[in-house]
């Protein structure tokens, strides 16, 4: 019910919203929770396990009960806390985890069955046949569990991430945080003030308290105005600091008020040289019978609704606590016109007041499905019942130590406060201040904020001017903790997960005595509030049950995030094509224009084939392209291969060290095929190495390994051989490279070169400078197809033009462009290798390349490759296979067996790494790794692909199927 006056809401701005299908009105400045309470709504949700009806318990992000689904359709948002949702015009909220309706929930039957559903019951039953568990019990449990529902649709969610840097991050804009920000701001520090709420001020907005001679909220507003005027201070409202990471990195989630084009949220990574933790404290419920009923609310939340939102959460209230705050709550209620039926103070010496005070008494039980009254146990043992529709309770406050524990620091128990406090130095550079550090009055919070900022400024080498402290409340409320009220009945500790005191006691009896065991066994603290409301209470119960003190019992670990974060925020940028960069070669537009399907390799996009009219399958195009290369000429974009420029006086010595074969003997103007090993003796990559000057080489790598090879070479140069004077620069992006392959490749090349090639000076494996259309280019006479072939590299700006024209001229000769599919066929016909064979597990020995392992020098991987196990005869080694039986098909990923044996692991002889249909040979060919392979040429083996149901008899043969002597490439 909305009060006639007061509050920090704008009474002129009415906002229409819907909840559970009904239309309501609230005010600007409301949360969804305050607006619901203003409209007299008490029942807002259902609990997780027993589906108990639930109301609003808190006024903050720790709310365990009032979780709702916002919106409809693809973008609907489950599990929003009504207590933090800022009300806006047109907001639609729906209850969740209730069927058929919030009022009548079929699964509420679980509540009746609760004796059989105690902690860990599921570990003790459903042990029958697996299928029954998986088909009957598990689906039933899954359906009953869970809270809200994802839309299961793709929504256009707008989230973003950003970085921020500051001298001082102040976490929380309550009295301590505001004072810290003022102190640091006035000293000229670069300050970020982050506050979870949409209205800075913290508890100052919720209490009727004077600060500096005016209302606390008024002082907070004025402090914000002062801070806003400082150019060195950034105020981030609606920003929850969610995690602490190493070296002063903080995660923070900022929500933005809705507006067109604006992201919903920004996830910030804030790098702060120092931080002040002013995160306040969280009030805890008292474990008393039926304390989860709608109408039971934390006393501090009651004051928030009364004073900040001008909403009365009930008409007739009982206040229960053990601190002078109880009278404050009662007074605030009375002032708002709510009848205070009883003030129950567990302390023997309660404050005297004119309320119906029960000193030394407890509220033992809540009466009614929604609060209708309470049973009070008096000091003399008698019970008295009082009618009420609101119970405002407080078991005390838990300092909000969460963030101080993210780097594994454990909070320290303070006996006088009966509370855990941040361990000093738990997070380097983070200074706790205010009520999160045990301050219990506003005056102490203000002073602590100023002092913490002064300490931070000193660390930063800045001078604090120390602004004056405003006068504020400094009376200690003489609080005493109340954990559990004795008596019968179920007392909730974790409201959402339906963990009661009995569950914790049962866990202790069953030897789940470690706090971690208790948590995992009962699910206490694993709900959406992560134990913020009930955690310390649960500890106290476990401590009692196991005869230990609370500090002896210990705490569970606090883990990020402090408040849950939507995956869309942490993963912003990953949606759609944003997950990784797309790399396009210069000739990309030509591939697209020719209709080539593009495939991805190492972030690059490469054409698989170029379909022509009349071709119905990729194979037809691929066969044509491969034959074209064998018969006339083909043109292929090979720009994606890595290219590393190696220069320096010691370039040759360096390459001898990183290649297994020798590059120092390579003559200028020549290219050599090379192998690079990892230090463990296995092949890392292969490629060509061209010597283009006395101290100047060009190394090529496979497309996907380019980055890894560069890093490896930099390691070798800087760490392993720092005495060598050598420079490595990637020039992959600089050059667009095109392969021209086939009997007519030289003729085609001569059409475009400024001066024709002299065959005498351009033998196989030659390289050198040429010009094409007046543009300086690099030419390499190398072949990955077995044909007479070249690769020509031009600066990337000319790549598209060159490729386009080469394709046109090749087509005029009856040739044309060929893609990755044909490239693969051509190289398999020649028994040449790709990543299918160089899969990180193979050695030079395995691939019949032992001859490339120089015996005359040290090189990376030399020693390890010499291990006996890597030279064993029974290792799978490279062979060719071709079908010889009725079945003609080969498939990659199949296994090889002796024809007579069963296809089992024990009998496996090898695997097929690459296959292709060879249009040149008219049948399938394959490369395989076969035990003792090179000794088995001519044998018959059976290829079995269980998955694709193919079984083929094959002959083992030399992997070079076509032109094994290599004459075509050399001639």
């Amino acid at each position: 019910m909305r009060l006639g006056q007061g509050g920090l809401v704008d009474r002129d701005r009415h906002l229409g919203f819907r909840f559970d299908g009904h239309a309501y009105e609230g005010l600007e400045g409301d949360t969804l929770a305050s607006a619901l309470l203003a409209n007299g709504i008490r029942l807002v949700g259902r609990s997780f396990k027993y589906h108990r009806p639930r109301g609003i318990l808190t006024a903050g992000s720790e709310e365990p009960n009032a979780l709702v689904t916002l919106g409809r359709g693809a973008a609907q948002e489950p599990n929003a806390r009504a207590t933090t949702v800022e009300l806006r015009q047109g907001l639609e909220a729906r209850p969740q985890n209730a069927w058929p309706s919030l009022g009548v929930d079929a699964l509420a039957v679980n509540d009746l069955l609760s004796p059989f559903l105690s902690a860990g019951f599921y570990y003790k039953t459903f042990m029958g046949p697996h299928r029954i568990w998986e088909r009957v019990f598990e689906p039933a449990i899954r359906r009953a569990a869970g809270l809200g529902r994802l839309s299961q649709e793709v929504a256009d969610l707008q989230f973003e991430k950003a970085f921020a840097f500051c001298d001082l991050l102040v976490i929380g804009a309550g009295p301590a945080g505001l004072m810290a920000a003022l102190t640091a701001g006035e000293a000229g520090a670069d300050v970020i003030l982050a506050d979870e709420d949409f209205l800075p001020g913290g508890r100052l907005n919720a209490e009727r308290e004077e600060v500096g001679g005016r209302s606390g909220a008024g002082w907070a507003a004025e402090a914000v105005t002062r801070l806003e005027a400082m150019p060195n201070v950034r105020i981030m409202s609606r920003t929850a600091v969610t995690g602490v990471y190493d070296q002063g990195t903080y995660g923070a989630l900022q929500k933005h008020p809705a507006a067109a084009g604006r992201p919903e949220e920004t996830f910030w990574r804030i790098v702060a040289r120092r931080a002040v933790l002013a995160a306040g404290a969280i009030e805890r419920p008292v474990a008393l019978a039926n304390n989860d009923r709608p109408g039971v609310m934390l006393a501090g939340a009651v004051r928030s609704y009364l004073n900040r939102y001008a909403v009365a959460p009930g008409r007739r209230a009982v206040v229960f606590g053990a601190s002078d705050e109880a009278r404050r709550t009662a007074a605030d209620l009375r002032r708002a016109g709510v009848h205070v039926a009883a003030l129950v103070d567990a302390r023997e010496r309660a404050e005297t007041s004119d309320f119906a005070t029960y000193a030394g008494a407890t509220v033992e039980r809540v009466l009614g499905r929604e609060v209708e009254g309470v049973a009070i146990r008096l000091g003399n043992g008698r019970e008295e019942r009082v009618q009420a529709d609101l119970l405002a309770m407080s078991g005390g406050w838990n300092p909000n130590v969460h963030l101080s524990c993210h780097l594994n620091g454990r909070p320290v128990w303070d006996e006088s406060l009966s509370a855990f406090l941040p361990a000093p130095g738990a997070v380097p550079g983070l200074i706790p201040a205010g009520s999160c550090n045990g301050a219990v009055t506003t005056a102490a919070c203000l002073a602590a904020g100023r002092e913490a900022a002064a300490r931070a400024l000193e660390d930063l080498g800045l001078k604090a001017t120390a602004p004056d402290l405003p006068e504020a409340e400094d009376r200690d409320p003489q609080a005493r903790p109340i954990w559990v009220v004795p008596g019968k009945g179920r007392k909730w500790v974790d409201f959402q997960n339906d963990v009661t005191t009995k569950d914790i006691e049962l866990a202790a009896r069953e030897n789940f005595r470690s706090v971690e065991h208790m948590k995992r066994y009962t699910t206490q603290g694993m709900a959406t509030d992560q134990g913020k409301t009930g955690g310390v209470t649960a500890l106290s119960i476990l401590a009692d049950a196991t005869g230990r003190s609370i500090p002896e019992t210990g705490t569970t670990t606090y883990r990020p995030p402090y408040a849950p974060i939507q995956i869309a925020a942490l993963g912003a940028g990953g949606e759609g094509r944003g997950f990784a960069a797309e790399r396009f070669t210069a000739a990309h537009p030509v591939h697209l224009a020719m209709g080539a399907p593009m495939v991805e390799a190492g972030l690059w996009f490469r054409p698989s084939y170029y379909p022509r009219t009349g071709e119905k399958t990729w194979r037809q195009a691929c066969d044509r392209e491969a034959l074209m290369v064998r018969e006339t000429v083909g043109v292929c974009d090979v720009s994606t291969l890595g290219k590393i420029d190696v220069q320096g006086p010691d370039a040759a010595a360096f390459l001898d060290f990183v290649y297994s074969n020798t590059m120092s003997t390579l003559k200028q103007g020549k290219v050599r095929y090379g192998l690079m090993l990892r230090e463990d003796g296995h092949i890392m990559d292969d490629g060509t190495c061209a010597r283009i000057g006395p101290d100047h080489y060009l190394v090529s790598t496979t497309t996907a390994a380019a980055g890894e090879v560069m890093r490896h070479m930099e390691f070798a140069a800087q760490v392993l051989r720092p005495e060598l004077d050598v420079h490595l620069v990637s020039v992959t992006e600089q050059w667009a490279q095109t392969a021209i392959a086939g009997p007519e490749s030289r003729d085609l090349l001569n059409e475009v070169l400024d001066s024709p090639l002299d065959p005498g000076t351009w033998p196989f494996m030659a390289c050198g400078a040429v010009t094409v259309g007046g543009v300086p280019a690099r030419l390499f006479r190398i072949s990955f197809s077995g044909e007479h072939a070249y690769e020509i590299a031009v600066p990337a700006r000319y790549g598209e033009s060159l490729f386009r024209q080469l394709v046109a001229r090749a087509e005029a000769r009856g040739g044309g462009a060929y893609g990755m599919e044909a490239l693969n066929v051509l190289r398999i016909e020649k028994g040449l290798l790709t990543h299918a064979e160089l899969d990180g597990r193979t050695t030079a020995f395995d691939l019949n390349l032992s001859g490339m392992m120089s015996k005359k020098k040290d090189f990376v991987g030399r020693a390890a490759a010499g291990r006996a196990g890597l030279l064993a005869d029974d290792r799978p080694r490279l062979v060719g296979i071709r079908p010889v039986g009725a079945v003609r098909q080969l498939t990659a990923g199949a296994f090889l067996f002796d024809p007579e044996t069963e296809s089992t692991r024990e009998n496996a002889q090898g695997t097929v790494s690459s296959v292709a249909f060879s249009p040149t040979l008219g049948h399938f060919i394959g490369l395989a790794l076969l035990k003792e392979g090179p000794e088995r040429h001519g044998e018959t083996v059976r290829m079995v692909d269980h998955l694709r149901r193919v079984s083929t008899l094959c002959e083992v043969c030399d992997p070079a199927f076509f032109d094994p002597a290599g004459g075509r490439a050399r001639d």
Partner: protein, 417 residues
């Protein structure tokens, strides 16, 4: 006490007063036949199988903290047998069979749920590699099915098939793969071992390993000296630290792997889905939380926590693969200490000190191995011969180069690039 539905009924009607400890908390005895260092899943399973398979019960499991507090209590709960290299294949196959009878073996419901695992592929090259894996699984006698794009669409309609950065071409389906309630596995094995007479001793940190003439004689602990004929180190990420007490250095580097869980949601992901290109995998727990993870943070760490770059990378991969999870809220993140070997495969072997045994190097795949590892180590401890299923997990394979099991082809070495 035997667990079952009738027992629950009886206890429910009588106020749940009859339940007792799931496992005993005895004082350590001065001597045991076998001391197992480490009360995690592997150590507890070893104790259980020592008692059940070999009748050896004069055994203690020594745990520094609380049992099940290491990786068995902080993983993403996936159980599978989809390896392709000999040595791994037979081991995980055997382990999965033990999972399938674990609940009746233990009289404890670990909520093993064979909901199926699907590995996605995005190119022909990846398809061939995944087919090789599937064929190896069938060679081993396990199950694998190749799903094309359309079959996958029917099973996982919520994936971003077309507009994501890596279009999905198909998947390898392993129907017998699934999940289990991780903590319960530790508790179930503890209860089974304890009931058979094994002493499980918590809050007992081993501070020294005693040897005489090159032979193990016992251990020093924070609760006194304990003699033992045989000592097994089963301490996952801490293996290097414990082995150093015996003067050993292991081929292990401890790295942090993070994992994440969201708030509870109504059922939406029915299988385990893995997205190799994005190093992302996800399933949904019976409580409704989406449980997911990604790759290592890639630096050595014992902190059991990680940093934001990996967190963000995992979330971005999730957004590209299944954007519908964008609205799910991450509730909690945590990290485990992964005992990474050079080739990514484990070690179950005798140590170079007589009477000392090693079970370590599980990298980020130790959970599914819990029963298989316990079974094999128990066999080795009891008979001094490796069990057939784990004969490949030799310590000397790195030195000799024989029998390396590098499933990922990343290199049998620690980042020495």
């Amino acid at each position: 006490m035997r667990f079952g539905a009738l027992r629950i009924l009886k206890e429910g009607l009588t106020g749940n007063r009859g339940w007792g400890p799931h496992w005993r908390d005895p004082e350590p005895k001065p001597a045991y036949d076998i001391v197992i260092i480490g009360g995690g899943g592997h150590g507890l399973a070893t104790a259980f199988y020592l008692a059940r398979e070999h009748g050896l019960t004069n055994v203690a499991v020594l745990e520094k903290g609380y049992i099940g507090g290491g990786n068995v209590g902080r993983n993403t709960t996936i159980v599978r047998a989809n390896y392709f290299l000999p040595g791994n294949s037979e081991f995980y196959s055997h382990s999965l069979k033990l999972w399938e009878r674990m609940e009746s073996d233990l009289n404890y419901n670990v909520m093993h749920s064979q909901r199926g695992i699907i590995n996605l592929f995005h190119s022909d090259g990846q398809r061939d590699a995944i087919v090789r894996r599937g064929n190896a699984m069938i060679n081993q006698g396990d199950d694998a099915i190749l799903l094309d794009r359309e079959a996958l669409r029917k099973k996982l309609p919520y994936l971003n098939f077309d507009s994501g950065r890596f279009p999905i071409h198909g998947g390898l389906y392993h129907p017998r793969g699934g999940t289990a309630r991780h903590d319960a596995v530790a508790w179930g094995f503890a209860r089974g071992a304890s009931d058979r007479g094994v002493d499980i001793i918590q809050n007992c940190e081993v501070t020294g390993i005693d040897t005489e003439a090159g032979r193990v004689t016992g251990v020093q602990t924070t609760r006194g000296a304990i003699r033992a004929r045989k000592v097994a180190i089963v301490t996952a990420g801490r293996s290097g630290q414990v082995a150093s007490l015996a003067g050993l250095r292991l081929p292990i580097e401890s790295h942090v792997l993070q994992a994440f869980v969201t708030e509870g949601l109504k059922p939406v992901i029915d299988n385990v889905v893995t997205f190799g290109m994005g190093h992302f995998y996800i399933s949904q727990s019976d409580k409704g939380g989406l449980v997911f993870g990604g790759d290592l943070d890639f630096y050595p760490s014992y902190a059991q926590r990680g940093n934001l770059p990996t967190v963000e990378h995992v979330m971005e991969a999730g957004m590209t693969l299944m954007p519908m999870i964008g609205r799910a809220r991450v509730l909690r993140s945590w990290g485990g200490i992964m005992d990474m070997t050079p080739d990514g495969s484990p070690i179950i072997d005798k140590a170079p000190v007589e009477g000392l045994y090693l079970d370590c190097g599980w990298c980020y795949g130790g959970f599914k191995a819990v029963p298989g590892s316990g079974f094999a180590l128990a066999h080795l401890l009891a008979t001094d011969r490796p069990h057939d299923s784990a004969a490949g997990f030799r310590l000397d394979r790195f030195e000799t180069g024989r029998g390396l099991m590098d499933e990922e082809g990343k290199g049998a070495q620690h980042n020495l690039h």
